[in-house]
């Protein structure tokens, strides 16, 4: 295990302004010992994929509460791949129905956290499932 701290981009794609969750997660991950970059609101998938590459992120956490997750998540995945960053671990959270969770995981989204998930669960998941990119 490299001693380099994992770099995590916490991103808010789409138009919704619900940033309570994203900010809590970003702060908890930072307190949990990770390097955290928070994009702020209203990011396009392009902006997020670009930031992930520029910031050399090992993982990208997406937060969507507008119901547009089935459009936004796959687009971020596609654009990461296009930039040669398909190995960045993408995870997410928000109001995401169970059926969609299954579909998103099928597309390669590593994990989806839904309302009620604790920050400790998320930190633990990152520790166990995200590796530094080569």
């Amino acid at each position: 295990m490299a001693d380099k701290r994992l770099r995590i981009l916490v991103a808010k794609p789409g138009l919704d302004g619900h940033d309570r969750g994203a900010k809590i997660i970003a702060r908890a991950l930072r307190d949990g010992g990770f390097e955290v970059i928070y994009t702020g609101l209203h990011q396009t998938p392009e902006m997020i994929a670009e930031a992930a590459v520029q910031e050399d992120a090992d993982a990208v956490g997406l937060s969507v509460l507008s119901g547009a997750h089935m459009t936004l998540f796959p687009e971020v995945m596609r654009l990461l791949k296009e930039r040669g960053a398909a190995d960045v671990a993408v995870f997410g959270g928000g109001i995401i129905p169970d059926d969609d969770v299954v579909k998103l995981k099928g597309m390669g989204v590593r994990q989806i956290f839904t309302p009620g998930a604790s920050t400790e669960d998320i930190i633990k998941w990152v520790r166990e499932n995200v590796a530094p990119r080569q």
Partner: protein, 544 residues
């Protein structure tokens, strides 16, 4: 005077006390007992009778004995005709006012055919890009008799113009149109975070609307000063109270600076509070808010008309308090929160549906939510007497304390140079994020309980049906908008948009030019693009 201390030393300390933190959901620690020693001020100074200054006990003389609150369920999804059908359903179930939820693109000033609208059209509200969508939305609804609330902010000027043009085309003069548009941009930067341009031009547009409505649409509430979203973003009750009242102060100051007489517009200002789980704290918050506003309007702004001093308010139960786990429990939470609103003396109320942490509500869930209000109104008897909590030692002490603590925040904001300056430095934003994080930590440490989430959880969730939005509606709406853009007189639209740009620069009130542009079929996105070009675009500073 010392009897409370004597009681505490001799009796309470010998009794059992559970080893927990006795604090409100906002983590305000409470004393075990409040007594007459905790009351301050005379009855007339601190409370007054209902309908009398400082309105602590209610703004109307007979309160719910005269008229119940307006039951107003917030609704909107899909295409305009889908939401129109929900409106007719709600009116048919005994609801007496409408409240419109728009989708994210409409709320952010993008037409359905904009690339940023992709995947969001009709998802969490109704899509309205053109005046024809607005006409469909209110089809067969008498706009001179049903009052309508529209929850929209940075694009509010365009949506209000569309509503007025629809009324005009139905032969209803603007003077007879009544309703509310949220249009509270300050709380957007603080909490809800839907914006187009930076705070200063945004405030100018709000003030234009206050001025325009005062002159042309006298039954319209041009701004609904909202604590709701501040609380949803994670603030404490005191922060909700303080930042909301501070926002109100900022709007009044700006309108007065414009040259309006305070009593010419303040009687049409209204408020919108959150109703969270902590029952006594919420009742106290609403009572404190009324007293604070009355005192501020009288003493700070020299209002003479009692209507300028009355805090009229809508309230909504707390969306953020609901749980995806064991969702039927939410019916109970909503019932208790709504009861706090009624005991706090609100004029209008929305009760959330049990399924709203999962999706937009189904018709069945909305009906239970509406029935909750009807049960409170017609079965519980709490409407028989006015302000039944008045004189409760605990509630009065809490009311005083919340006013005191909120006024301390307002003093700090005044010192910074007012709310716009405070927002520009990120002060309220950081205070709220801090409180949200604190609550989350308390939850994870088990200091605070959410039933079904960190206590009493069960492995199997009870599945409930949820509303699905058909993905095909997006394409349908895109085609509709494109058809309008194709078929209208594009020269006339261009001229009208240029007039808006000119008014942005000259400082002329924007509302008449926007109304004219809407008459010529300009869209929400096109008018918003003028704002973007003239005033610049605001970007989230991304403070953590």
């Amino acid at each position: 005077m010392d009897s409370k201390k004597n009681w505490f030393d001799s009796t309470y300390q010998k009794a059992a006390e559970r080893p927990i933190r006795f604090s409100t959901v906002s983590d305000m620690e409470l004393e075990p007992l409040y007594t007459p020693a905790d009351l301050s001020g005379t009855y007339d100074e601190a409370l007054g009778n209902p309908g009398e200054y400082p309105y602590t006990r209610g703004i109307y003389g007979s309160m719910y004995r005269g008229r119940l609150w307006t039951m107003r369920q917030f609704a909107g999804f899909g295409l305009a005709e889908d939401t129109n059908a929900r409106f007719h359903f709600l009116l048919g179930q005994g609801q007496d006012g409408l409240s419109t939820a728009f989708d994210m693109p409409t709320l952010m000033g993008y037409d359905a055919d904009h690339e940023r609208a992709l995947g969001e059209v009709g998802r969490e509200g109704v899509s309205v890009s053109t005046v024809y969508d607005m006409a469909t939305l209110f089809d067969r609804i008498p706009l001179d008799r049903v009052s309508t609330s529209m929850t929209v902010n940075c694009s509010a000027s365009v949506l209000l113009a569309m509503y007025l043009i629809v009324a005009e085309r139905n032969g209803i003069p603007w003077e007879r149109v009544g309703g509310t548009i949220q249009n509270d941009m300050l709380k957007e930067y603080i909490a809800q975070k839907e914006w187009i341009c930076p705070p200063r031009p945004a405030l100018r547009i709000v003030t234009d609307m206050i001025e325009f409505c005062a002159r042309k649409v006298p039954r319209w509430h041009a701004v609904s000063i909202s604590g709701y979203h501040i609380r949803e973003a994670g603030s404490t009750a005191v922060q909700e109270l303080a930042f909301t009242i501070a926002d109100g102060i900022c709007y009044v100051e700006d309108a007065v600076k414009r040259g309006l007489g305070v009593d010419d517009f303040a009687p049409r200002l209204s408020f919108f509070w959150n109703l969270h789980n902590d029952f006594l704290e919420e009742v106290a918050k609403l009572r404190a808010a009324r007293r604070m506003w009355a005192r501020i309007m009288k003493d700070r702004f020299g209002a003479k008309d009692p209507k300028s001093m009355m805090l009229r308010t809508h309230a909504q139960t707390a969306g953020a308090s609901l749980t995806a786990q064991q969702p039927i429990n939410n019916v109970v939470r909503v019932g208790i929160q709504a009861l706090a609103g009624v005991l706090g003396g609100v004029q209008s109320l929305h009760t959330n549906s049990m399924d709203e942490t999962l999706a937009l509500p189904t018709e069945q869930a909305v009906m239970v939510a509406l029935r909750t209000q009807q049960i409170i109104a017609e079965e519980t008897g709490v409407t028989n007497t006015i302000d039944p909590f008045g004189g409760s030692y605990a509630v009065e002490a809490l009311t005083d304390r919340m006013e005191r603590e909120a006024m301390e925040y307002i003093r700090r904001i005044d010192e910074m140079g007012g709310m716009i300056k405070a927002i520009e430095t990120g002060y309220p934003q950081r205070e709220i994020a801090e409180a949200a994080f604190h609550f989350q930590r308390q939850l994870e440490k088990g200091i605070k309980t959410v039933v079904g989430v960190n206590k009493y959880s069960i492995p199997e969730e009870i599945p409930i049906p949820t509303l699905k939005i058909d993905a095909a509606i997006e394409e349908k709406q895109i085609q509709r908008v494109r058809k309008v853009k194709r078929e209208r007189n594009s020269v006339a639209v261009k001229e009208a948009l240029a007039r808006i740009a000119e008014a942005c620069r000259s400082g002329e009130n924007l509302m008449e030019p926007i109304c004219e542009a809407v008459r010529r079929d300009a869209t929400v996105g096109e008018v918003s693009d003028i704002f973007r070009a003239e005033f610049g675009v605001y970007r989230d500073p991304g403070w953590l």
